[in-house]
Amino acid sequence: MTDLTELYQDIILDHSKQPRNFGELSAANRHANGYNPLCGDHIEVWAQIDDDLVGKVQFSGSACAICTASASMMTQAVQGKSNEAAGVLFEQMRQMLVGADEGDVGQSELGKLAALGGVRRYPMRVKCATLPWHTFKAAMEENNGQPVTTEQ
């Protein structure tokens, strides 16, 4: 498998072409914007959080395949988790994508999300994969001020 097919795995292409949970969520009680001005990726994340539980999560926006797939897979992964478990998942993803040692995270723990690990070899593209996660975290923390960015 070349680096390129490791990056653009079938599951990533699938989620980028047919993003799950796409569109504004009218019942959301959490919302945040994510924007990487240098590259132009722009997504919004809506979430319904009740009783310390992540309910429905949706996203919208315009972004590259990596960012769109990461957002789509994230919405599936965090739904139904406790706030704490979602926070742990955020940290595991961060570790897989930008952590000092890629061996730190057992990829089995991440399931399908491990497919995003190929991005690690493309330093210019890591910010694309992390943007939805940081945007989700901002929504959870009700940080609705400035859009989240993963550039710099």
Partner: protein, 417 residues
């Protein structure tokens, strides 16, 4: 020293010979020969420039206009000679019309603040276009906010050309400054600058030409153009980063207040009253980028040796070939189809984001730019968040265009569209 072609200008450009003058062009990227098609962002540097920088730092390095020692004299002389080279490159009337800056961006800011700041008042208008780079938008917005002047924008047609009919009606007696790109960095349109300058002058406005994208592609004669200000960057013209040029007509520069204060721009400093030197020194506060100016002069020397008319003719042929080959890939949609164009090609492929195109191309060693090209209003005009942009230089070849097209086809395969 790098060896440039020295044939008379009637002979075509010898691209193989030119490529040997650019050491980086023999680099490998991801196991492929580098195909560098991001020249609108920055061009590569010939040995002539690298050697000039090395020679400056090993034989002449010193501060200028102060030390009485031998190196001080050499550095002062090298910096002055670099200004002479730029003067003749642009065919400026006098050397005092050449101000060294950090680049085009600083040059535009300098004019916006030092000219616009004192000449604009509430109700005046600054006219720019929808295809400007952010560096020819934001400085004008800033000075408009400071002075109460308004910004007008010449719209762009579906083909990516300025709507000249609209321009003529937007040009009023309130218009004091027109600031316009010679060539669009994003879509390669060559604007009818002579016509714009004549019309602006007839209405009493001054014109700043952003030549960042044209200075390495075509000969520029500021006297025959009759532009009032012109800006370009060293690093897009085969020279180093951090050096650029502002040309300004002597009478305009003489009438302008300083941009920044500091050493080298003063005649005398007293706590009660400080007096300033004449242009260009007035606008060059602090120790300038001496090595950068020396490197830029070497880059201009290199372009002159090859010949700008020969560069233009060669690049025009290559651009036609690239347009034709890219269009033959069915799913590629060109953004901008101006009849007069140069240097840059923007394209999109429906179903593949430009950043993903950029990554697939990079995997094949092909370097292009993906993004909004610091021209977000133009991207909005065409309804795209970003494009992929291939931009050529004198050292690019048909084989490299073929590599680009091959990599674009691979992107289409990888994404299965």
């Amino acid at each position: 020293m790098g060896v440039a072609t020295t044939e008379p200008t009637c002979l075509p450009l010898d691209v193989d010979r030119i490529r040997r003058d650019f050491p980086i062009l023999s680099a490998q990227v991801h196991g492929h020969p580098l195909v560098y098609l991001d020249n609108a962002a920055t061009s590569q540097k010939p040995s002539a420039v690298l050697d000039a920088l090395y020679a400056y730092y090993t034989q002449s390095n010193s501060n200028i206009n102060r030390g009485v020692h031998a190196l001080g004299e050499r550095a002062t002389d090298a910096y002055a000679k670099a200004r002479d080279v730029v003067q003749s490159f642009l065919n400026a009337q006098s050397v005092g019309e050449i101000v060294f800056t950090r680049g085009t961006t600083e040059a535009v800011n300098l004019v916006a603040q030092a000219y616009g700041g004192s000449h604009l008042k509430a109700g005046d208008r600054v006219l720019i276009s929808q295809m400007e780079h952010h560096s020819n938008i934001v400085p004008w917005q800033m000075v408009c906010q400071q002075t109460g002047a308004d910004l007008d924008v010449i719209p762009v047609s579906d083909d990516g050309e300025l709507m000249m009919g609209r321009f003529e009606s937007q040009l009023t007696d309130r218009t004091k400054i027109v600031a316009i790109a010679h060539i669009s960095n994003a879509i390669g349109t060559v604007n009818p600058v002579s016509k714009i300058i004549q019309a602006a002058h007839a209405n009493g406005a001054v014109v700043l030409m952003d030549a960042a994208q044209s200075a390495s592609h075509m000969a520029i004669d500021v006297q025959s153009l009759d532009c009032d200000f012109l800006a370009f960057s060293g690093h897009k013209t085969y020279g180093p980063t951090g050096i650029g040029v502002l040309y300004g007509k002597a009478a305009l520069l003489a009438d302008m207040a300083p941009y920044q204060g500091g050493g080298a721009m003063i005649r005398s400093v007293d706590f009660d009253q400080t007096t300033y030197r004449d242009p260009p020194d007035r606008f060059e506060a602090g120790t300038p980028n001496i090595a950068g100016a020396v490197g830029l002069a070497a880059a201009i020397g290199y372009m002159n040796q090859v010949g700008l008319s020969r560069i233009s003719a060669y690049e025009a042929g290559l651009l036609d070939y690239a347009l034709q080959e890219l269009e033959s890939v069915g799913k590629v949609r060109l953004i901008g189809r101006a009849s007069n164009r140069a240097a840059s090609i923007s394209f999109v492929i429906d179903g593949i984001h430009p950043h993903d195109i950029g990554t697939v191309l990079d995997d094949a060693g092909v370097a292009i730019r993906a993004g909004h090209h610091c021209a977000q209003p133009l991207m909005n005009r065409f309804g795209v968040p970003a494009t992929a942009r291939a931009s050529i230089a004198m050292y690019n070849t048909k084989q490299e265009v073929d590599a680009l097209v091959g990599a674009v086809q691979r992107a289409i395969e990888v994404f299965g569209i």
